[in-house]
Subunit: 461 residues, 2 copies
């Protein structure tokens, strides 16, 4: 009897649980409505984003742009009235692109639309000139074999099939091509949209294979060279890249908070990454997210709201090419990991918000769904399984319940890691809805009596 | 009684007219179905387009690319079995872009995404460095006046409102800015899509105003500089353009035909322009059109069809920056203008065909609608008022009935006059439908007993 609860007791638990959950919606409705109204009327957040995009611009780890953005973030968090604003130091990889270009020499002499991939080595001075071998997949590559690939430039003309599967060619293409003796790798930009614009992003070497330079080319250039190759027309390319790795640079995460009125030691953290690739303005990836998180908390402050627990904004550093910010934040938390009540990451752009993905147990999902109802008026109330993100990964792996803010993502991968990731891509109305969604979810999680419990089986990887 | 036809006679005319029109549909149904089936099964046309795009590429008036394209066209028309293949000589303007670049120097040092406008002068050696004054409209420009504009670079940040109205800033922006003492003009690319890509196109000077260099910038760069300017942040730009006009070059229109079996002297001409801007591949503008016209006639030839009148394919030259090809064709026709039975122009890309616009009288519209019915199976049967095009303008002004092939045009102005106007933008299935539409319309017009009559009031201008 002691070990097995009676049916009556189970019924009581379910009934009280349901009542409890309904209470959560009712309990926060007035506050949520105030937060949403304030967020939708806010212009300060978008103006802050405009400053970040137009006055600071892109901000790759190791760059002056990043350090300028960090200084501005500290200043802006203070101006928003946040407490305990500080930089959590982190050493970050310092990759620099240098001068780079590619030309097709035969059958026509044409400049190619290229962007070196992040972390690639450069070419020898004077560049590399070699025939191109075009493949669509790793299987095609293996079929061609070393005899056809040795000394050639491998072009991966992999059509976009969603970011996850297609990015493998960007990440691993050079290493796999090197295995067969290729001298460089060109990768069709990972994007559904062909507008003659290349997309950069991280690549990785295999310690057991030679390092060869790797660059993205526009979908158009990839399709053109692949068709010529398939038609038996010899394609020759000249590639020059001045990329190099410098010693690690000093940088850091920026955090600021509203201390909890009852449990200041317990923390709900929400944020995104402050670094970006060295092209465009890092507007959707991930400037809009960090500014939306900041503005969500700025609005609580303006409304005089102080949740029971601390609500903290984090601008993590080096998400794009190292993940050192997420690791440094985990170290900063140290043995107080149990006090990290929840972690919310936003890193999918700031198109219209849909809701949140969460890696939590079933009772916690029920609680989140009650909070979600408060966001239905702005279309952001959908709570789904999943969630997380690379910056909060180190927290989630140690049991912190993790959420990912989800957005429509209609055009996100058109702009992702390109020169076209600019302020104009962030619709002000959508941006404000994101601020509202983050404000309501962040406030409720930091204030509600209950705590979320991470799903069994650990964080998504 | 002689001068006023009786009601009975009118009723007879109407009835026979209706029967006649119905006859036209019935008369050509079998032939149309054969042409459509052959066009939809054809791969040769798209392969020809691929050659033009990938092996020859862009082809501005005066360039080697154009002359290569002309030689290839002669060869290809002959290979398709056309008769009387020849080049009608035309002198064309020879504008060359030269090296060009633009940078924003303040408030951030950033390269701008620019393309000089066609026919612009260059900058002095070493370029121009000047503050930017941003306006949205010509009215804004006039309001600012000479005191604010003198010595500055004028940026037109005109949002896309359809090609017609928006292109005025590209065409006339430099002349209008020069009126107020501007030293250069930058024009937001004329496009609904912002993907950090500039769109070139023709501009014109005003003989009463100084000539100043003019370039397009990407929508993103235009929006950024305009917002900074509006916020009171000084924006400085350095512009360098090596553009120049060389003496007129020798070039020409390419024509080929199937001579009419009864009236070889009567001609239905259909075509597009062989020249393109000096970026991308001129795939949608207007490579796909000329190859579709050629292939439509090639398919007639393969099917052993010989219409009553001559059906002629024309690849007009210099549509983009001078219109000399259309004028040369008119001169070539000379006093035999009455034998030009109809002229069909295709210059709106090769997305899914919708039908034809026509500038003809009401009875002729009824005939065209009967032919249109034959194209309903491929969605291309819509006959609307309007039509024409700049290459056939000189014919239409002298009374030749003109048609313009119309297509969906969903993305046409995303790609127009850019580096992204490449083969991949031409959907093979849509391309084949265009071939089918041209083949049916061209054949019926060349074969039917009736002749179209141009609408009163002359050609659209």
């Amino acid at each position: 009897m002691i070990r097995r609860p009676s049916a009556v007791f189970l019924a009581f638990l379910l009934a009280s649980g349901a009542a409890f959950a309904a209470d959560l919606t009712e309990q926060y409705r007035a506050t949520a409505d105030k937060l949403i109204a304030a967020a939708l009327a806010d212009t300060e957040g978008y103006n802050r984003l405009a400053y970040l995009c137009y006055r600071i611009g892109h901000r790759l780890s190791g760059s002056q742009g990043l350090e300028k953005a960090i200084a501005w973030s500290v200043e802006t968090m203070k101006a928003a009235g946040l407490s305990n604003v500080r930089v959590i130091p982190a050493k970050v990889p310092h990759w620099v692109r240098g001068a780079e270009s590619a030309r097709m020499l035969t059958p026509l002499d044409r400049p190619l639309h290229m962007l070196g991939l992040g972390m690639s080595i450069g070419t020898p001075p004077g560049g590399i000139t070699a025939p191109v071998v075009a493949v669509a997949t790793f299987e095609d590559l293996a079929k061609l074999g070393r005899a056809r690939i040795q000394g050639k430039i491998v072009l991966y003309n992999q059509e976009y099939r969603g970011y996850g599967p297609t990015r493998l060619y960007r990440s691993n293409g050079a290493a796999r091509a090197a295995e067969f003796g290729a001298v460089a790798a060109l990768v069709r930009a990972v994007t559904p949209l062909a507008m003659q614009i290349p997309h950069t992003g991280e690549m990785r070497y295999d310690d057991n294979q030679p390092k060869i330079p790797a660059a993205a080319v526009s979908p158009e250039d990839a399709m053109m060279m692949a068709r010529l190759f398939d038609d038996g027309v010899p394609v020759t390319v000249h590639l020059e890249m001045g990329a190099q790795m410098l010693p690690d640079a000093d940088s850091g995460n920026v955090i600021g908070e509203i201390p909890g009125r009852e449990h200041p030691e317990e923390v709900v953290v929400m944020g995104g990454h402050i670094d970006s690739w060295d092209v465009g303005q890092g507007a959707q990836d991930d400037g809009a997210s960090i500014v939306a998180c900041l503005q969500a908390v700025a609005i609580m402050k303006k409304l005089g709201l102080q949740p029971r627990r601390t609500i903290r904004v984090a601008f993590w550093v080096n998400e794009e090419n190292g993940g050192r910010g997420g690791v440094a934040y985990r170290e900063f938390v140290g043995d107080k990991i149990k006090d990290q009540v929840a972690a919310i990451e936003m890193d999918g752009g700031a198109e219209a918000p849909l809701g949140f993905g969460a890696g939590v147990d079933a009772p916690s999902m029920a609680l989140l769904q009650q909070i979600g109802k408060l966001l239905n008026p702005i279309g952001a109330g959908e709570i789904t399984a999943g969630g997380g993100g690379s910056d909060i990964g180190p927290l989630l792996r140690d049991g912190v319940p993790g959420l990912g803010e989800r957005t429509a993502g209609t055009h996100y991968f058109d702009w992702h890691h390109t020169d076209a990731d600019t302020l104009d891509k962030v619709n002000p109305e959508d941006f404000r809805k994101n601020v509202a969604a983050l404000a309501v979810m962040g406030y409720a999680l930091a204030d509600m009596p209950e705590r979320l419990v991470a799903a069994a089986g650990g964080a998504p990887r």
